[in-house]
Subunit: 290 residues, 4 copies
Amino acid sequence: MRFNVSSQLNYHVKFPSTLILNIQAQMSSAQYVVEEKLTTNPQVNYEEFYLEAGSSRFIRLQTGNAQTLEICYSATVDCSTELVPAKGAPPVSIAEMDRNAIPYLFPSRYVQSDRLSKLAWDLFGKINDPYQKVVAIDDWIYSNIEYALGSTDSQTSAYDTVVERRGVCRDFAHLGIAYCRALNIPARYFSGYAYQLNPPDFHALFECYVAGQWLLFDSTRLAPLNGLVRIGTGRDAADAALASIFGGVQGTGVKVDCQLGSGETFTPLFRNQLRTQGIAQNSGDSSGNG
Amino acid sequence: MRFNVSSQLNYHVKFPSTLILNIQAQMSSAQYVVEEKLTTNPQVNYEEFYLEAGSSRFIRLQTGNAQTLEICYSATVDCSTELVPAKGAPPVSIAEMDRNAIPYLFPSRYVQSDRLSKLAWDLFGKINDPYQKVVAIDDWIYSNIEYALGSTDSQTSAYDTVVERRGVCRDFAHLGIAYCRALNIPARYFSGYAYQLNPPDFHALFECYVAGQWLLFDSTRLAPLNGLVRIGTGRDAADAALASIFGGVQGTGVKVDCQLGSGETFTPLFRNQLRTQGIAQNSGDSSGNG
Amino acid sequence: MRFNVSSQLNYHVKFPSTLILNIQAQMSSAQYVVEEKLTTNPQVNYEEFYLEAGSSRFIRLQTGNAQTLEICYSATVDCSTELVPAKGAPPVSIAEMDRNAIPYLFPSRYVQSDRLSKLAWDLFGKINDPYQKVVAIDDWIYSNIEYALGSTDSQTSAYDTVVERRGVCRDFAHLGIAYCRALNIPARYFSGYAYQLNPPDFHALFECYVAGQWLLFDSTRLAPLNGLVRIGTGRDAADAALASIFGGVQGTGVKVDCQLGSGETFTPLFRNQLRTQGIAQNSGDSSGNG
Amino acid sequence: MRFNVSSQLNYHVKFPSTLILNIQAQMSSAQYVVEEKLTTNPQVNYEEFYLEAGSSRFIRLQTGNAQTLEICYSATVDCSTELVPAKGAPPVSIAEMDRNAIPYLFPSRYVQSDRLSKLAWDLFGKINDPYQKVVAIDDWIYSNIEYALGSTDSQTSAYDTVVERRGVCRDFAHLGIAYCRALNIPARYFSGYAYQLNPPDFHALFECYVAGQWLLFDSTRLAPLNGLVRIGTGRDAADAALASIFGGVQGTGVKVDCQLGSGETFTPLFRNQLRTQGIAQNSGDSSGNG
């Protein structure tokens, strides 16, 4: 499935600063970047880099003496998702788990899985089937957490969301990850472009490692799982910030778009339409780092 | 410098479980494991593994039907530290930083560097020299945080330590890391064996990335910086847990020892003895992952 | 019903200090103190006082130069509880509420009722009958929170207990109070001696203001509601600390006892034995301050 | 000194609800309300009440079926402040303290004085003179906390402000109270109208109990201490909320004004202009409850 994605970030620059951006589509066997373009106005120096482990693409950019900065990214990306038999898969065994999934078992900045362990076991511990367990987590979050723009901020963590029961996509993802990890199921953060997300914006969801695959879950149910273009993979939003600012830079606007490629026909697929299968974006990739 | 290190971990096992241990000495150009032995009583299955990025060595162990479990590790390790000209080194430039140091700029489970940004800049922002900046952080922690066994627990984070001003080595390390990251200096967690630590135990400290090196800082000043045998390197204690338990296992005792190799002469070196130089363990290793 | 209660508190005193104690049985129409005795060893100066509002009795005590201090309190108290028709009582109307109940609507140190508002309404908002609402809160806490000695400390608040799902009587009480206040039902903290509590200790529970009465709820279900001798009434444990220390004093031991008066026959009564009635200790007292 | 104060609160009402307002000037020997008027549009039912302890005046108001509600309060108030010899006053002795000041020693919703005890003693413990101690607290807050509108919300507490070092008047007051209580000095929250506050708004500050008086401290230094008209006195903002909403009501606007009475001459007085004296509003009133 082909998508045309774009984003435009505007900044006010107070003094020469560095930005690390994570807005480009990942390249993988499941996601082919047909073409892409990144421009800045004014033109400034930047370089692309990867971290040692991981497929997220980062841009390190020097503002120089620019006072305002506009960053425009656009790409045409062919994405494939795969339906994976998931119900009835054997329990997620730490003993045999792909070693690269293991870091996704531990707590992280926004995911205090260590502190909500009893809660997770009380709610979901009796479900034996690992896929059904995560399905129950996903349902629980969808039913119990209210999607409310502006109700949280960059410091809100899963711990808060358990109590306050409100949040945005990022908070929904963090809570899903927290419940999975508390149950010894590796889970990670996914940021991306999302087709049919309304209003258009960057999106966040989570993946859990079940049935030997990273399966996609979006407990907001605001965008179909087969309309995603992956940008970042990480332990939580601290790993996958769209823009990290080092210096004196202030965001003044963001525009995001995700359109279907011409000639494509799209049948939206949500997790709750599937009874026994999960949806994976990176089929065939056993790595822990998308 | 040669050290003989050992540790013994005892567990009560309620039902067959998995343990992930991180107690073995790392192997690197700065740390040569002459010999080592890991035994369990009763004998159980385990395997060693590395994560995709990083040199920490993990043991994945199945308790099987054992009801009690004793794990004994001992090793003879040759460690080298290097004095590094540090004062007067150029500022830590995000623009030119080794890409593998970048993940150590972001907040993590126990290190909410995003929330204590203003505090860090107020306290240390006027110091231009990056090494002197971290020296000031180290001095500040040593002077302001009381070392108090039992005053904190596994959920205590840098955020708490700023307010409560008490903690153990792990808390001292987290706060050092938090201040560094808040100032845009990469910093990471170091766990290890420590010679002359009294009472003997595992130890934790932090490294910051200054002058193109990962320099060692131990704000507890409880052990010399040239008497360390590295076990784990990570973003914080969540990455470098000595033992992660998946199942029903309860710790019943820990014994740790670190002795000087026969024939060695040891002159303890503490950070505050150095005016212009830093101490690095992994000289020559530019990788972000120890 | 007559009870013989006693408590003994032991302290190590580092330098002359002041203690404020709240260990004496309250005196009210529902609780008649037949006789009581308070002794200290060595003999030190103290005075009893009340706060402007409230019936809790405080002892302000100067340690002087004593190096150890033993405080012994014993009392014979006649307590009466009353069964109150509660089911079907009109909603708790803020508009007509006794003004002295109003302070018990607001958040306090350990009761962040403002932050768990949505959770409380999701869980209990659909229950119209105010008594049934609190009954449901009480049942929920009993079913969802594990009683675990040593699992929490003096800083644990209702916010934490919602997530961590473990605690002691004080934590159970704080969570009950938090849910009630979030639902606009005044609720307060009750500390006291408790007959048949095992092991013997001071006890804590909560009262809510329903049907024009302060009804007793003990979600731990560890002691019968008709075997309580009231010591403190407050917004939360910060108001009803058994001992507040100003200076250098360290607790070295506490012994508590509560026995039935001779000749009395006791039929334990727990909240869940009652379908339509509540239990109140202070029948006839409309004041907000026990 | 005469002040003409007024406030106008606008609400959107979704369904019949109750409001508890705390916007009227207190009446006391130090504050004489010459005349006042409270009107609502549309006209709705309300009653005024006091709590058992305390001089804060509350309005309990039923919205009825109004869909929008405007509440207008205006008053002419004669206020007197008094300069109190404060430096060199004897230490704040718990042993001899007015019993009504004692509740202001304990932690409360936004004031976790128990958790920042060591910090408070480290910073201010060496200052013996109790007035100089609070003067040092006031100076510290003024110097270390940035006044930043919008940087905090209704859940921000003193614990957060110690770390994040930003806030508004309410946060400044909470931190001052926390430091005082941690040092065993009673401290309480003051809300009021403030002359020369720019932009005009309700204001918050704190009082500490030193030299047998409640002395005024405003660490924001945004308004003179002799230009205050007291509305609320409480343990923290939870006790002195301007408006507590029970039902479905949303604030749509607030206007506040404070003008000098005609013919008055005002010489602004700030705490830092005084070397040896404190400023008290309620001279002669030994009660703990303003």
